[in-house]
């Protein structure tokens, strides 16, 4: 049964999503059912990670006689949809399932007073399905379909609070951005199909010769995925969407954003990996985009009054670190000496930062949701003195803020340090910008802490109490993960991150479907 795992990763949450709307009468049952399904999926993704670490690449061919029958007998080209799971995809799948579980747990209390909850949980599961499909697939058109699922489910959830006009506004903004981006992805898939007559990423990567059509397709793919992961020229949808979405969805929506980043990496390293010498300029573009993203994000964050909006701008700025880290790796891809010296470590920093950022930013956004839950406002100027009233939330916030600012014993430090060190070796200027951003981040979070948790207690909030148990548990799990990842970064790096980096760099393994040929 273990060889069917990649297909079950999609089928099980999909089954959950299709059955959840039937529980219309009883929202509690829907919540419990969704939590159960996400927990089962989390267990399966742990199994998947273990399996992938042993086999390096897991291949699943849909509709063939055997799961590993990539090519039909006597044929040179793959014809069916193939799931190709390597360590990078498994890592993203693990974060997606973990964050969906945390989000479902947190939502149980957070949105219990709202209506339409059976749809909410169904859409949460569908968002998870979309991300899982994007990170596991080895087929370009399949990637497009799951990109659309994630985009539609995400934007519907952004507009969940339909009694607020801002929510619908943020929702349609996100939907317009994601549908334009995915239509352009489809256009470039069409270009590649017209040129090479196939849709399989691994097969296409052996054929690509970097003529005009390929360059144009690469440009459109790069722009579209950068647009969807909130990189700088088109980052305007990020703060709106993250602010308006219910906090229980924030973790999953973050992973959805980074699934686009994953697709960007997959396009750069696998689809166009054969032409690595031309890709170094793309790597430089990625580095510069990363620096711009982190700097503009953090400067916009400094002036915000709304606590969730402030954190959303920090999410933009942290995306810059990931682009920088992986961009450094891409820039030296065709130079084995430099790649071994610092390129591989830079990529490890960038990818490790994805996980770390997903964990601590979810934690922070969830504490912001907790503040909203008890006070009913997100304006920092109206809060104050909540530290005494909400001890668990305060501790969770401190852990998250320390992690995002890169203070040593927490997980943000481990990945940021790797990025500084390696970016310095490519160009010192890049590292300096990254460090300045980090200092500004710290300043901004000190401000939040002072105005929300410290200071004189505000009269209206005299009777507030700690948030309900399920929200506390969800936050504590993430806080513990923050500390564990910070204390033992080497374990995570060796077990999860370096295999993922090697999987991205191992093009020949990807092209032969893990050697099943």
């Amino acid at each position: 049964m273990i060889e069917h795992l990649p297909a079950l990763m999609i089928a099980v949450p999909l089954f959950g999503a299709f059955t959840t709307p039937l529980l219309k009468k009883n929202y509690k049952a829907a919540a419990v059912w969704a939590t159960l399904i996400t927990a089962v999926t989390l267990g399966m993704s742990l199994l998947l990670v273990r399996e992938v670490l042993i086999r390096e690449i897991m291949v699943y061919v849909f509709g063939a006689d055997k799961p590993t029958l990539v090519l039909p007998s006597g044929y040179r080209v793959p014809i069916r949809i193939i799931f190709e799971v390597d360590a990078m995809g498994a890592l993203m799948a693990l974060s997606a399932t973990l964050m969906s579980f945390i989000g479902a747990l947190y939502s149980y209390s957070h949105v219990r007073n709202e209506t339409g909850l059976e749809k909410y949980y169904a859409l949460l599961l569908l968002l998870e399905v979309g991300i899982l499909g994007m990170v596991l697939t080895g087929d370009l058109f399949n990637l497009f379909v799951f990109l659309e699922i994630a985009g539609i489910a995400g934007s519907a959830l952004v507009g969940f609070r339909n009694y607020r006009g801002e929510a619908s506004e943020a929702g349609i903004k996100y939907l317009i951005v994601s549908s334009v981006a995915s239509l352009m992805v489809l256009f470039s898939i069409g270009l590649l199909y017209g040129e090479y007559g196939n849709l399989n990423i691994a097969y296409l990567s052996t054929q690509i010769g970097f003529n005009t059509v390929d360059i144009i397709a690469l440009g459109i793919l790069f722009t579209s995925f950068a647009m969807k992961c909130g990189s700088v020229p088109t980052h305007h949808w990020v703060p709106d969407a993250y602010t308006e979405v219910p906090s229980g969805i924030n973790p999953t929506l973050l992973v959805a954003t980074y699934a686009s980043l994953y697709a960007l990496f997959r396009v750069s390293f696998s689809l166009f990996g054969k032409v690595s010498s031309e890709m170094s300029s793309v790597g430089w573009i990625m580095c510069v985009l990363g620096v711009l993203t982190m700097f503009i994000g953090v400067t916009m964050a400094l002036v915000q009054k709304d606590v969730k909006r402030l954190m959303s701008y920090h999410a933009i700025s942290q995306t810059g670190y990931m682009l920088l880290g992986v961009g450094v790796g891409l820039a030296v891809l065709n130079d084995p000496a430099k790649l071994a010296a610092f390129g591989r470590d830079a990529m490890a920093g960038g990818i490790f930062h994805i996980i770390n950022h997903i964990i601590y930013k979810s934690l922070l956004l969830m504490t912001a949701g907790a503040l909203f839950y008890v006070t009913g406002t997100r304006n920092l100027n109206e809060m104050g003195g909540l530290a005494r009233k909400m001890p668990y939330t305060t501790v969770a916030f401190i852990v998250g803020a320390a992690a995002i600012s890169g203070i040593p014993p927490f997980n943000g430090f481990a990945s940021k340090f790797l990025i500084y060190e390696t970016a310095y070796q490519l160009n010192p200027l890049l590292a300096i910008f990254a460090m300045v951003t980090s200092v500004l981040t710290l300043a901004s979070f000190v401000k939040v802490f002072a105005s929300a948790f410290l200071g004189p207690p505000v009269k209206e909030y005299e009777n507030v109490r700690e948030v309900p148990r399920s929200m506390v548990i969800a936050m504590i799990i993430l806080a513990v993960l923050c500390i564990l990842f910070g204390l033992f970064p080497n374990v995570v790096l060796d077990k999860l991150v370096y295999p993922a980096v090697d999987a991205l760099l191992n093009l020949s393994g990807y092209q032969t479907w893990g050697g099943v040929l």
């Binding site: 058109f141 379909v145 659309e148 539609i152 934007s155 519907a156 507009g159 339909n162 607020r164 006009g165 801002e166 619908s168 506004e169 943020a170 929702g171 349609i172 939907l175 317009i176 549908s179 334009v180 239509l183 489809l186 256009f187 069409g190 199909y193 017209g194 849709l199 703060p239 709106d240 602010t243 308006e244 916009m300 002036v303 915000q304 909006r309």
Partner: protein, 121 residues
């Protein structure tokens, strides 16, 4: 040159349609018109996929009651299947966008994107 344009006319129409779609999204202020712009993009991409599958002088890829010449002379079927998928996705996206537009009109009383901007900064 003239010949190249005439032969590739479907592809050029696709490019122009894409341009029209982007113009509508970028320069129109009414939200419904923006939705129409996305629909135009959708149509352009679907048209592109279908034109990729065309083979000169070939028949539809269906064996039921087909003429004798159709055997081994059929247009490429994959783009048609992809287009089918993409059409349904387009319907889904536009339905959701119109639902959001209804909600926005309820709250703000207008569909002008320059006036519907509470979320700023």
């Amino acid at each position: 040159m003239n010949n190249v344009i005439l032969v590739n006319l479907p592809f050029i129409v696709v490019a122009l349609l894409l341009a029209v779609g982007f113009y509508t999204i970028g320069f129109k202020r009414n939200l419904i018109k923006v939705v129409i712009g996305i629909e135009i993009l959708e149509g352009a991409v679907n048209l592109f996929l279908i034109t990729l599958g065309y083979v000169k002088g070939a028949y539809a890829p269906i064996y039921t009651m087909a003429p004798k010449e159709a055997v081994n002379n059929m247009v490429l079927p994959t783009p048609q299947a992809l287009t089918l998928t993409s059409i349904v996705i387009g319907v889904a996206v536009s339905a959701l966008m119109l639902a959001f537009a209804v909600n926005i009109y309820e709250h703000y009383g207008t569909l002008d994107v320059t006036k519907v901007r509470r979320l700023k900064g």
